[in-house]
Amino acid sequence: MSATPNGAADQPFVSHSIRLSLNGQERQLDVLPWTTLLDLLREQLDLVGSKKGCDHGQCGACTVLRDGKRINACLTLAVMCDGAELTTIEGLATGDQLHPMQQAFIKHDAFQCGYCTPGQICSAVGLVNEGRAHDSAQIQELMSGNLCRCGAYNNIRDAVQEVLGGEQ
């Protein structure tokens, strides 16, 4: 990507070409610099599982995985994801086979309205990848970036704990 010299303000705004691996598919896309990853997913690629809750990185409803790590898609510029491997809630299942975390959320009734659920599940998968949570209290602390206004927290914690293989 070419650098913009000083005096950039006088030049027309341009879109930038990025390459992504998105849910296992290679994509080449043109994005404007101010497009967030969340808007790219929802508005341009019809991947509306990731939700725009607060749009300020406070609620976690937009959580996706970038190179296996959980991030807030609302505070990420799409143009800065060039070369990244992204997984959204739509990419977790294998065909009709749900991801174990998705199965566990159903089993433990870990949601009511479901709005925060895609972010909760992506965050929980990121938590498992990190390998830092080993008990109930640690799960609770390390899921604190995802709010659930229905208050399904206890069931969410149980679902994550089951996937981690801990005691119930």
């Binding site: 990507m1 070419s2 650098a3 913009t4 010299p5 000083n6 950039a8 303000a9 030049q11 705004f13 341009v14 930038h16 404007l32 610099p33 101010w34 967030t36 749009d55 300020h56 990185g57 976690g60 959580t63 790590k69 959980r70 991030i71 807030n72 505070l75 990420t76 510029l77 143009v79 800065m80 965050s123 990121g126 938590l127 990190e130 830092r132 609770q140 602390e141 390390l142 899921m143 604190s144 970036g145 995802n146």
Partner: protein, 329 residues
């Protein structure tokens, strides 16, 4: 968000030469993009520095550690060298933000976080930090979360970072590079008090980029503690936080570090109080006297007087817990 130009330089020199008064560097973006969405920051040009080779943690020849500015908060907190030698820093980082934000936020960016004062964030009201000379509604408004130390008539906001409180206590050094070359800034000098220019949070020039944070060698790892007091148990900014670290010979204090967050425009480290602890024996009385000395010039606003009591108790508890922390594996 306003429209802006975007570039992605490949080395530090190119990055600093691209910069101007109307540009901003971006790495994690967790605070900058939020400020841009609120129309508080309106850069014409974003310089993406994530392609620069500043992503390493390495030991220095002097026995310290050099942390590249692009190391994420999560990678820093969980790095074996940091967990073993600077557990205070790990603890402080993990007390802040959320796992998602810690995965995104960079070491350099953490230093450049802006205050979370409600009036700074509300573009419908005056704010001397946002619009110099416009006034400070916080001084007479809702100021429960505001400063008790080092504030000015123009600004009573606090610095929001947890990581920076630990870095202050650990006497970190900030490596920066600009068009005129590189320099190293002592952490205590990096952030500013508001004075009559609250729009300036720190002493970086427009073209200067943080390249690394250096931690000097110390013997504080066995007896350190970061105590964060906040309105909810997780994912909230500190009302008061205390970074405490001691080097002990039996019960005698050989070295002491004490820094506070949530109380001032910058991480508040009081070297005179630290010096007064050296040679003393660990006791509640010793720590109470240190707390009183540190807070002797504290000035409450209408709603934040509780912070003085909270800080006093927090200092005593953080130092007491540090003293018994014991050898870490």
């Amino acid at each position: 968000m306003n429209p802006f130009h975007y570039s992605k330089p490949v080395d530090v020199q190119e990055a600093v030469h691209l910069s101007s008064g109307a540009s901003r560097f971006i790495a994690g973006g967790t605070n900058l993009l939020d400020l841009m969405k609120e129309n508080i920051s309106r850069p014409e040009h974003l310089i993406d520095i994530t392609g620069l080779p500043l992503n390493h943690i390495q030991e220095t020849a002097e026995g310290g550690v050099l942390i590249g500015a692009l190391v994420s908060n999560a990678d820093l907190a969980w790095h074996p060298l940091i967990e073993q030698r600077y557990p205070l820093l790990s603890q402080a980082i993990l007390a802040g933000a959320s796992p998602q934000l810690r995965n995104m936020a960079s070491t350099g960016g953490n230093l450049l976080q802006r205050t979370r004062c409600y009036y700074f964030y509300d573009t419908n009201v005056p704010c001397n930090k946002r619009e110099p000379g416009s006034g400070c509604p916080a001084r007479t408004g809702l100021n429960r979360i505001h400063a008790i130390l080092g504030a000015s008539e123009q600004c009573v906001s606090t610095h929001p970072s947890d990581m920076c409180v630990a870095l202050a206590a650990l006497a970190a050094r900030v490596h920066v590079e600009g068009r005129g070359g590189a320099r190293v800034i002592e952490f205590a000098d990096f952030h500013r008090l508001p004075g009559d220019a609250p729009q300036r949070d720190n002493q970086l020039a427009d073209d200067e980029l943080i390249t690394a944070i250096e931690l000097p060698a110390d013997n504080l790892a066995s007896h350190s503690n970061y105590l964060k007091i906040r309105d909810r148990a997780s994912y909230a900014f500190a009302l008061v936080s205390v970074a405490a670290a001691l080097e002990l010979d039996g019960d005698t204090i050989i070295d002491a570090r004490l820094a506070l967050g949530g109380v001032a425009h910058k991480p508040w480290r009081d070297r005179a109080v630290e010096a007064s602890l050296i040679g003393q024996v660990v006791s509640r009385e010793t720590f109470s006297q240190a707390a009183d000395a540190l807070l002797q010039d504290a000035e409450p606003l209408v709603h934040n007087g509780f912070k003085i009591k909270l800080a006093r108790r927090g200092i005593i508890r953080a130092l007491s817990d540090a003293a018994v922390a014991g050898e870490r594996p």
